[in-house]
């Protein structure tokens, strides 16, 4: 009974400030209450002490709020600064020692920089940009002019109204080159106003310290941009960082950003750079696997993942990826549908976990940084050694003795543990990484044999080696050289190309030193060394070695192939083409050479146009005798076969071509050939087969659309284009062909829409402009005469005309689909398929808002395309002009309006012209713009008015015109 009476008694009143029932100031109530706001009020009452002091209850209330809303502002309390007692002894020591080592470092640096300081400062002064406002001055009499300028201009203060001339549209139309390079999807998602940022940093006169400082800062900027999802920007900043000091960590981060941008080629390159610097880098391997997976080089992807797994058997992500890729490999042949699906899921997963990883990498680095810095000497030593990256700290720690390594590992574990949110699997792998540090380095020696393909790849030189060492009649290597060679082969086999090069070089020296004439063996040695160089990416040395080998043994297969590959990767396509062709003369069955030759042909056509063959150096004719001179062939035909397939395999691996992609390419090429021969029916069939293999490739669809167009199957062509546009919503070709298809279907309105889109994407497409004109004419005819049947003849001819030059570009589109450089257009407006002749006034859809309108105007203005401007004006309701122009009216815009009104509209529809002029005068900034018109421009306006006076209309009277003239200050 007593228990009950207490709350009753307390529940009588309310608190003074918030009128909370007193009964709410109770443990039970607080524990049950879920209303944070109410609890916050209670807490305030309790803290104020107006109802008495209840420390326990206050604490409970705080805890309850924290549990419900940990970010509640009521929880913020004034706290004193942390002191040593807030940390554990180790933490406190770590904090202090870190600071001390930094201080020591700074002092050291001060002494050094004092010596260097003297003249570097001046050097940089020279590179500075000019002083603002005086940039236009000539350098000769700068001082004089400068002073004049200052008097005339700068002493007059600028007021706010003068700041109003800013043109947002201009800013918006600026597009980064970077953005253009990335593929169309990324392009579409990125904002149109990407800034132009220098890719390189001028580092003249900078000390090493400063360079490190700047490189780190650029990397930080890159990381920040990455965290925000601005991958293009991130890549730019990583590139800048690399331009100052290249480090593996930055390459690695850059690769990740490029993966996000789906820029597979660059990502691959960057991963490889990381692996050059740090052969065991797990992240780079994982990333390279992702890239290979995307490029459909499943075999290589699996190899990389296996490498990861051999170091980190627990890495669940790698395991998963392996499974998925293997599934893909299996499922590849029967159906292509699930492949696309599976791929997508994989990307998602990798992205999810990798985004955490990107950040982790940084923290990890900092962590290591901290660990290393704790002994200043170590840090200095590393600088002295010129070690560029903190990412290398792992390897370094080996040399620095056990203690440091232990600490490193400890730190590492710490970071992994504290990063609990990063997911359990990650944690595990992280720990594992540190545990197996040793293996990372030793791994290349011991574990590489597990990768089948790599070993296979080397088996050729190896066989050569054993063959020759085994004492074939033709080889006469001295035993020492033979031994070096076998060692080299072994090293090559285990992937240690650098060491293999050394061995081969020794062998070569030995053989040449003997002076004995054994061209065969020497040639083989050179060729083997070339293979190593090729593997290392050292193309120029590879070519040199191949040249030597070929001097000794003309027309031998392998050096030729290697030289071709090296040339190709150095983008010396002509030389590469010649070499491949020579190879094919020797042995036409080498598939890889065939494919490569085809590929290069395409590239060369892009590069040099149809007359590319004329620019080629002559292809050497291979003597019949040389065909017997193949190494692997020897005299035994039985050995010939496996070796060529071996080469094929090797080549295939190297070219990153997998069988289905091969088939796809072949089919596509055949299709393209049929198109060239004019057999569109067959071509379409080929393309259809292609689609069975890969539904994602847009070019096939655009190509098939072309065929259908030629075959007058407009409906089908339209479908293909629709499909492409679903995948890639800014595909200019698809728009263009769909426009033609619509035209064929006599849906002129939709056709005009699509042509407009083409022009929006690339205003320089002359064919589209012509077509558009024609279609608009047809449209007018159509709406006036109401019968478009007689147009069929003319229509056919125009398609023929247009597609012919277009077709030539096919190869270009096929190869460089991703690298197309086009400004991003505002493509939000989904093409409206207007039913034909639904109403009398079929028009280009009006731009929906000021932004789009501005975009279009800017595009038109850039080309001075009065005709298109006239089209725009005819479709635009004059009344909306002031709204659409908002405050963007400029002299140039006014001028192009006036001109297009004069040339195109005033004659046909003076009423409309008048209305436009009338509403134009209502636009913002009109007065200002008018005041700034030059004399000639005023005359143009006058002309237009004269024209309007001549051609009367019922929509305006002469008085109207006169009053408007006054508005235009005439």
């Amino acid at each position: 009974m007593g228990d009950e009476s207490v709350p009753y008694f307390l529940g009588e009143g309310t608190t003074k400030t918030y009128q909370i029932p007193i009964s709410h100031l109770d443990y039970k109530f607080i524990e049950k209450c879920t209303d944070v706001k109410h609890l916050e009020k209670i807490l305030r009452v309790l803290r104020s002490g107006e109802e008495g002091c209840y420390p326990e209850l206050t604490l409970v209330c705080e805890k309850r709020i924290e549990c419900l809303d940990p970010r509640s502002r009521a929880l913020r309390k004034d706290k004193p600064a942390a002191t040593a007692s807030d940390f554990t002894a180790e933490e406190w020591q770590a904090i202090n020692s870190e600071l001390m080592s930094w201080l020591a470092e700074m002092n050291e640096d001060d002494k050094k920089s004092q010596l260097l300081r003297t003249d570097t400062a001046n050097e940089r002064q020279d590179n500075l940009p000019p002083i603002r406002c005086s940039s236009s001055c000539l350098p000769t009499n700068q001082n004089k002019k400068l002073q004049n300028k200052q008097r005339s201009k700068k002493n007059i203060p600028r007021d706010y109204s003068e700041w109003d001339k800013f043109d947002v549209e201009k800013e918006c139309s600026k597009i980064d080159e970077d953005c253009e390079e990335s593929n169309s999807k990324a392009r579409f998602f990125s904002r149109p106003s990407l800034p132009i940022i220098e890719k390189k940093i001028d580092t003249t006169g900078m000390t090493k310290r400063e360079k490190i400082f700047i490189a780190t800062r650029e990397k930080e900027k890159g990381n920040e941009a990455f965290a925000t999802g601005d991958y293009v920007e991130a890549v730019t900043y990583y590139t800048r960082s690399l331009s100052v000091i290249p480090t593996a960590a930055v390459y690695n981060n850059k690769a990740q950003a490029e993966i996000k941008l789906q820029d597979w080629d660059n990502a691959l390159q960057d991963c490889e750079k990381v692996l050059d610097m740090e052969p065991g880098n797990i992240k780079a391997l994982m990333r390279r696997a992702t890239v290979h997976n995307q490029l459909q080089n499943y075999q290589t992807a699996i190899e990389d993942l296996n490498k990861v797994l051999s170091v980190e058997p627990e890495n669940s992500m790698a395991k998963k990826s392996v499974l998925e890729i293997e599934e893909k490999l299996k499922g590849l042949k029967p159906v292509s549908e699930p492949q696309g699906k599976g791929k997508k899921i994989l990307i998602e997963e990798i992205e999810d976990s990798e985004s955490g990883e990107g950040r982790e990498e940084n923290t990890e680095e900092h962590e290591r940084h901290g660990g290393d810095k704790s002994s200043a000497a170590a840090a200095v030593a590393r600088e002295a050694a010129g070690e560029p990256a903190m990412g290398n700290a792992h390897r370094k720690s080996h040399g620095k003795g056990k203690a440091q390594q232990d600490r490193d590992t400890h730190k590492h574990k710490d970071s992994a543990e504290s990063g609990g949110k990063k997911g359990a699997s990650k944690k595990k792998s992280e720990k594992h990484l540190s545990d197996h540090e040793g293996e990372v380095n030793g791994y290349l020696r011991s574990d590489e044999k597990s990768e089948s393909a790599e070993a296979e790849e080397v088996s050729t030189p190896h066989r050569e080696g054993s063959q020759s060492a085994g004492g074939g009649s033709s080889t006469s290597l001295p035993p020492a050289a033979a031994k070096l060679k076998t060692e080299g082969n072994e090293l090559f086999k285990s992937g240690q190309f650098g060491e293999a090069v050394l061995k081969y070089s020794e062998a070569i020296e030995y053989v040449t030193g003997l002076g004995e004439q054994s061209p065969d063996d020497l040639s083989i040695l050179y060729s083997n060394r070339a293979a190593c160089y090729l593997k290392e990416g050292n193309c120029s040395d590879c070519i040199q070695d191949c040249n030597r080998a070929l001097e000794l043994q003309p027309f031998s297969l392998k050096p030729l192939l290697r030289r071709a590959m090296a040339n190709e990767s150095m983008e010396r396509y002509r030389q590469a083409y010649i070499d491949y062709k020579t190879v094919l003369q020797i042995d036409s069955s080498i598939q890889a050479a065939n494919d490569s030759a085809n590929r290069i042909t395409k590239t060369l056509i892009d590069q040099d146009g149809p007359s590319w063959r004329e620019k080629l150096p002559p292809i050497p004719v291979v003597p019949v005798a040389a065909q017997l001179h193949r190494w692997d062939g020897g005299s035994l035909t039985s050995e010939n076969k496996p070796s060529t397939t071996d080469i094929n395999r090797e080549e295939e691996l190297q070219m990153n071509c997998e069988e289905p992609t091969e088939k796809f390419k072949r089919l596509k090429n055949e299709g393209n050939d049929f198109v060239k021969m004019g057999e569109y029916e067959e071509a379409a069939n080929k393309y259809s087969e292609c689609m069975k293999l890969n539904t994602e490739e847009c070019t096939v669809y655009t190509n098939r659309a072309l065929c259908y167009l030629k075959l007058c199957k407009y409906e089908e062509a339209k479908w293909d284009c629709d499909h492409v546009l679903q995948i890639e919503d800014s595909n200019i070709k698809a728009f263009y062909r769909r426009a033609l298809a619509y035209k064929g279907l006599q849906n002129y309105q939709a056709s005009a829409d699509d042509f407009n889109k083409v022009l929006l994407i690339d205003p320089n497409v002359v064919e589209a402009q012509k077509e558009l004109e024609e279609v608009t004419q047809l449209l007018h005819l159509d709406s006036s005469a109401g019968d478009g049947s007689q147009q069929t003849h003319g229509k056919k001819i125009t398609i023929q005309e247009v597609t012919e030059p277009d077709e030539r570009g096919e190869g270009q589109f096929a190869t460089s689909e991703n690298a197309e450089a086009q400004p991003v257009a505002a493509e939000e407006a989904v093409p409206k398929v207007v039913p034909r002749r639904s109403s009398e006034k079929l028009r280009i859809p009006e731009p929906p808002n000021a932004y789009d309108f501005g975009q279009i105007i800017n595009a038109l203005n850039a080309n001075k395309d009065k005709a298109a401007c006239a089209d725009l004006l005819t479709t635009t309701d004059p009344k909306t002009l002031p709204v659409l122009l908002s405050n963007k009216l400029e002299g140039e815009i006014l001028l192009i309006f006036i001109q297009s009104l004069k040339h195109y509209i005033a004659g046909k529809n003076p009423g409309l012209a008048y209305q436009h002029l009338f509403y134009l005068s209502k636009a913002k900034r009109f007065k200002v713009v008018l005041a700034l018109l030059s004399k000639n421009e005023k005359e143009e306006v006058q002309h237009l008015f004269d024209l309007l006076t001549e051609s009367q209309s019922d929509r305006y009277s002469l008085e109207d015109l006169e009053s408007l003239k006054k508005v235009y200050e005439l």
Partner: protein, 360 residues
């Protein structure tokens, strides 16, 4: 063990406290060194520049320079890493650039304003920001002027109200958007709550807004990138973070605001090593460490199809109270992450260490 203290949260440690014999207005780390500058006004109405060096757990005075006028603000932003000249603004409206090795005569001097220079910022030096080195000053006389140390006597740009319009006291200025040689903006905050963004490339007023209370401090998260975020703090304890990437034609930039404390927020400074973390210093002697979290999508289309920004959210990482007097100045070390210095009106200079900034 450390779990009790919340291992993820950064802690603010007061490493050194140094009592001063004058009122400190501004303090700055000397780039690429363990030294710092302290600027202020001595009791007899003269200006003081002190150069300290951090030695373990104490500060050692290296140099003390006395100047005729109290010094309000200083920056190293427009000097090279080699020279490290200090640019200062004083109570008389003078802009001076000092070589700290030979501080008797300024290397550059101009009577820039009629009244006190409240705020100064520099860009183009220290390898931060592309383009020419420039200094911007904001003064009580209502003008904001941009100076190039290579041009004597006259500013390269001058932003002042039109004749007749009342002059507002300019309290703070900041450079931003200097990601290439042409682009550059100046942001200025005024006593009536106006924030104005001047584009120096096009010489135009790009944007303006009013946050209702006097603007004490503005800073871009980084000066040398395509402008990303701007923080503006106000007299009444609120601060606003603007997402500067997407400018809507009518609505301007999206922003999020947060109330840190009941008193004025004197200054905001972003961590040089991570643009999304910043510290605000308050009138009640408190420091707040914040983190900005981006939204999933930073921009969206409004009903008319124009791009508009989406503001993110703020989370308080740590707060401490160091003094009963306002902390008027704050500066992060550009070289050592987590090291920072602040000067308060209780005539004390504090060197702070903020821990665990890596783990955020």
């Amino acid at each position: 063990m450390s779990a009790v203290l919340g291992p993820e949260r950064p802690q603010v440690v007061s490493h050194v406290q140094q009592a001063l014999s004058y009122t400190v207005f501004d303090c700055k780390w000397v780039p690429r060194s363990a030294r710092l500058m302290c600027l202020g006004s001595a009791a007899r109405g003269t200006g003081v520049i002190q150069l300290y060096e951090l030695h373990g757990a104490r500060l050692e005075v290296l140099r003390e320079i006395e100047k005729p006028k109290p010094i309000k603000c200083g920056t190293f932003g427009a000097t090279s890493l080699q020279q490290r000249y200090l640019a200062t603004g004083d109570f008389d409206g003078n802009l001076n650039i000092w070589n700290l090795e030979a501080p008797e005569i300024p290397v550059y001097s101009v009577k820039g304003h009629k009244e006190i220079i409240n705020s100064i910022d520099g860009v183009g030096g220290l390898g931060i920001g592309e383009g020419a080195p420039e200094i911007v000053t904001g003064s009580r006389d209502g003008t904001v002027k941009v100076w190039d140390p290579r041009q004597n006597d006259t500013p390269v740009a001058n932003m002042e109200p039109v004749q007749g319009e009342s002059k507002r006291d300019c309290w703070t200025v900041a450079f931003g958007n200097a990601y290439n040689q042409e682009e550059r903006v100046v942001c200025a905050g005024y006593d009536n709550g106006d924030i104005k963004l001047f584009d120096l490339k096009t010489m135009s007023l790009r944007w303006e807004t009013n946050i209702k209370n006097g603007v004490c401090s503005v800073e871009f998260d980084r000066k040398d990138i395509n402008m990303n975020k701007l923080v503006a703090t106000s007299l009444e304890g609120k601060f606003h973070v603007f997402d500067m990437r997407t400018q809507h034609p009518t609505k301007g930039f999206a922003s999020v605001s947060e109330k840190a404390q009941k008193s004025t927020i004197w200054q905001v400074r972003h961590l040089p090593q991570n643009r999304d973390i910043f510290m605000t210093s308050g009138g009640s002697g408190s420091l707040h460490l914040w983190k900005y979290e981006y939204p999933a999508q930073r921009s969206k289309k409004d009903s008319e199809g124009s791009e508009m920004g989406v503001a993110g959210s703020l989370s308080l990482l740590q707060n401490v109270t160091l003094s009963t007097q306002p902390i008027s100045s704050l500066d992060w070390s550009p070289d050592k992450k987590g090291l920072c210095v602040c000067g308060a009106f209780d005539q004390t200079l504090r060197v702070l260490i903020v821990t665990k900034l890596n783990k955020i």
